[in-house]
Amino acid sequence: MLLGFLAGLGRAVLRACQEVGGLALFALEALSHLVRPPFHGRQFLRHFIEVAYFSLPVVALTALFTGMVLALQSYTGFARFNAQSAVASVVALSVTRELGPVLAGLMVAGRIGAAMAAELGTMRVTDQIDALTTLSTDPMKYLVAPRLLAATLALPLLVLVADIIGVMGGYLVGTAKLGFVSAAFLDSTWDVLETMDVVSGLVKAAVFGFVIALMGCWCGYRSRGGAQGVGMATTSAVVLASILILALDYVVTEAFFAQ
């Protein structure tokens, strides 16, 4: 029985290695198409607008409420230590370094990652991906590469907006409800923020964008088995992207701030 268990475990590990290897090859091939012509600029533009522009409302609302809640929470917490004056810095730092990129990433994973997996999955099960090949078009180049690039470039833009709106949310609550003086709040925000805080957040965003598109494309591209298969691909794209976002968040933070 123990032997059976070990054999099963071994098989699972081998399977996992195979999958990871497959994913790496998939990513490398897609990236290689970004430097080899012909390029599909029209496709890139379509996806860039989809990610950057049409995700704005969702991301902005998320950031706004996060900033507002953060101000409120940190105020009530810090009041116990008479440290209310730190509210502005806490909002600015947490939004730019952590919450902006992570929450925007998770929202976009739900929106864009799912859409990509569903679209590519449907194209796969209806033979549209095979049809591309017969029409002198490399599906990796036409479908996957533009999506990867679009998401990787669009997410930092989105997060920049999220940063601004998040801090603004904290400022609104701080001045309107918690009795901070407007100028003082802004001053301490500026004072505490360093370039590195914002930059690390934007780098995180680019990484998350890449991961979201990669998971969406990978799951969709290899889906099979009709509507059910597409549904499964969509679910796993969102779940995998979300988990990877949280895991990579730690990795990038470690890389930036662990001295």
Binding site: P38, M123, D127, Q128, T133, T134, L135, S136
Partner: protein, 255 residues
């Protein structure tokens, strides 16, 4: 310049389920072959193997005398430029309007500009008997038969040398079907293309095929002139062609 297609002992199985068990067939240049066979007998899989969309487990596929599996990426792309394929379900790109679908290959090869593509699409659509206004619709707005029709226009738009049709006339009304048959014959005779078609319709098989082959249990069990379908002397083929319930095929199934 036309292409020959040769299959030598092509085998394919999916997860333990054998579909092709050694398919041998040779299609000479500028000829038209019809492939017959029951549902699920592996006809579509065979076409996808020839196109390189599915890798066969064993056997060789030669196009123009050259092994497809041994080709480099570039050679394969050059070969694809000369191939047209109609998928069984049409496989139109639903994110693109009909005119862009029809001219997709020409645009991909940069043989026309986007501006010229609309006119070209109207021309190709007219060739298969569709109005130019269809070009501005999206595939989802078309009926099933019309989608098939547009997919056919897309397959022939780039004037390929080698054509594959997976059930070109299923889902079409009889008159439409006859028009499509005529178009396929025209492609073979006028353009000198080589064509391999799959069909379940005997009348259409006799019209488009010079030769016919029947696939059964993963092998080609018969091939001969398409005109003789129905009185070939091969019990299996005749039963299939006449659509009779009694015969060697049903007995095999019952056992």
């Amino acid at each position: 310049m036309t292409l020959t297609v040769t299959l030598e002992g092509v085998c394919k199985s999916f997860a333990g389920k054998t579909v092709l068990e050694g398919v041998d067939i040779a299609v000479p240049a500028s000829s038209s072959l019809v492939v017959l066979g029951g549902s699920g007998s592996g006809k579509s899989v065979m076409l996808k193997c020839i196109l390189g969309l599915i890798t066969p487990d064993a056997g060789r596929i030669l196009i123009d005398g050259r092994d497809v599996a041994a080709m480099s990426r570039r050679e394969r792309a050059a070969l694809m430029d000369r191939i047209g394929m109609l998928f069984q379900n049409g496989a139109l790109f639903d994110s693109l309007p009909v005119w862009e679908n029809v001219c997709f290959k020409l645009l991909a090869q940069k043989r026309i500009t986007r501006r010229g593509a609309r006119d070209k699409a109207a021309e190709v659509l007219a060739q298969v008997g569709l109005a130019a206004s269809v070009g501005d619709l999206s595939p989802a707005e078309l009926s099933g038969g019309m989608q098939k029709w547009v997919a056919l226009a897309r397959a022939v738009a780039a004037a390929p040398d080698l054509l594959f049709f997976d059930e070109p006339t299923t889902g079409l009304d009889p008159i439409m079907g006859a028009v499509i048959d005529g178009l396929i014959v025209d492609c073979v005779q006028r353009l000198g293309a080589t064509a391999i078609s799959i069909t379940h319709d005997m009348a259409s098989a006799r019209r488009i095929g010079q030769r016919a082959a029947m696939i059964y249990k993963g092998r080609i069990v018969w091939d001969g002139p398409a005109a003789s379908l129905g009185q070939t002397g091969n019990a299996m083929v005749d039963q299939f062609a006449r659509g009779e319930r009694e015969g060697p095929i049903s007995m095999e199934l019952r056992r």
